[in-house]
Amino acid sequence: MTEENWLQQQIQQLQSQATTYEDQAFYQALGQVSHELAQRIEQRKVNWMAASGTRQNGN
C-alpha cells in the first residue's frame, strides 16, 4: 500500500466515525489536501528528473 493510500484510508475511517457535520467536512477536506500534496510531490519529481536530465545532457 502506498503512503497516500494508507493516509486516505485512515482519513476515510475517521470521516466515517465523525458524529458532526463539521467533522465530516473537515475529514473530507483533509483527504483532498493530502491528495493535493501527493500530486504536487509527483509533479516535482517529474520536474526534478527533467531538470537533472537537462543538466546531464547539457540541453
Binding site: 503512503e3 494508507w6 493516509l7 485512515q10 482519513i11 475511517q13 475517521l14 466515525q17 457535520y21 463539521e22 467533522d23 465530516q24 467536512a25 473537515f26 473530507q28 477536506a29 483533509l30 483532498q32 489536501v33 493530502s34 493535493e36 500534496l37 501527493a38 504536487r40 510531490i41 516535482r44 519529481k45 520536474n47 526534478w48 531538470a51 537533472s52 537537462t54 543538466r55
Partner: protein, 229 residues
C-alpha cells in the same frame, strides 16, 4: 489572528447562504460574526475594526454591488478622519470579501453573459483596501450554493474556515492549518486509538510537506545552476 466578518444582508434570517456560512465558522474562536444593524453605532464599528487583523465584508451581490446597508456602513464608518486623513489605523491589516451570487461562475468572464469578471465587479472594494493601506485578499465567491453537491458543500465549509482563519494562502500554510486542526481534535479525542490515528496522520502530512519543500528547493537549485552556467 483575529478576524471580523461584517455581514450585510437585508433578510439574513431567510438566507440559506448566510446561515450555512454562520454555522461553518461557529467553532472558530478568533472569528467575530457581526451582522450590520439597521442603525449603526459608528464608534463601536470603528473600535471593532481596530481590534481585528483581518476584516471580511460578506454580502450577496445585488445589481453588481453590495446591499444598501454595506454602502451605508462604508460611507458612515470609514470616514476620512477615522480611516485615511492623518493616521491610518487599518493600515497593514487584511481586507477580504465573501460574496454570494445566484448566477453561475461561467457567466462572469470575458464573452460570458454578464460581460464582466468578478475581479472587475469587485474592483471598488480593492480600491477601498488600497486607500486604507490594507492588503486585499483574493475574494471568496460562492456561486449558486443551492445547486452544490453535499461533498462540495463540505469542502466549502473548510475553505471558508480557512479563508477566515488561515495565516497565509500558500500550500505550506494550508497544511499547517490542517495540522493545527488535527492537534485540536487530538486534544479532545476520548478514544486512545483515535488519538494515535490523528497523530499519525499529522506526522504523515508533515513528512509529505517537508518532502515537497525539499523537492522544490532541489529543482530550484538545479535551475539556478543552469542559469549560472
Amino acid at each position: 489572528m483575529k478576524t471580523l466578518v461584517i455581514v450585510s444582508h437585508p433578510e439574513i434570517e431567510n438566507s440559506m447562504v448566510q446561515n450555512f456560512l454562520k454555522a461553518s465558522c461557529a467553532g472558530l474562536e478568533e472569528v467575530t460574526w457581526h451582522v450590520l444593524p439597521s442603525i449603526l453605532d459608528v464608534a463601536f464599528e470603528q473600535a471593532q475594526l481596530k481590534t481585528h487583523d483581518r476584516i471580511i465584508l460578506q454580502f450577496p451581490l445585488y445589481w453588481y454591488a453590495a446591499p444598501a446597508s454595506l454602502k451605508n456602513w462604508l460611507d458612515t464608518v470609514l470616514t476620512g478622519d477615522f480611516a485615511f486623513n492623518g493616521s491610518q489605523p487599518l493600515a497593514g491589516k487584511e481586507f477580504g470579501l465573501v460574496v454570494s451570487t445566484g448566477i453561475a461562475a461561467k457567466h462572469f468572464q470575458a464573452g460570458g453573459s454578464e460581460q464582466a469578471t468578478m475581479s472587475e465587479i469587485l474592483r471598488p472594494y480593492e480600491l477601498v483596501a488600497r486607500k486604507l493601506g490594507m492588503t486585499y485578499l483574493t475574494p471568496f465567491v460562492i456561486h449558486q450554493l443551492g445547486y452544490w453537491s453535499e461533498t462540495a458543500k463540505q469542502l466549502l465549509v473548510v475553505d471558508y474556515q480557512r479563508y477566515l482563519s488561515q495565516q497565509n494562502f500558500t500550500l505550506t500554510d494550508k497544511v499547517a492549518w490542517f495540522q493545527a486542526q488535527l492537534a485540536q481534535r487530538q486534544a479532545v479525542a476520548e478514544d486512545e486509538a483515535q488519538q494515535q490515528q490523528l497523530v499519525l496522520i499529522g506526522e504523515q502530512l508533515a513528512e509529505q510537506s517537508e518532502l515537497l519543500t525539499d523537492l522544490n528547493w532541489q529543482v530550484q537549485m538545479i535551475r539556478q545552476e543552469e542559469g549560472e552556467g
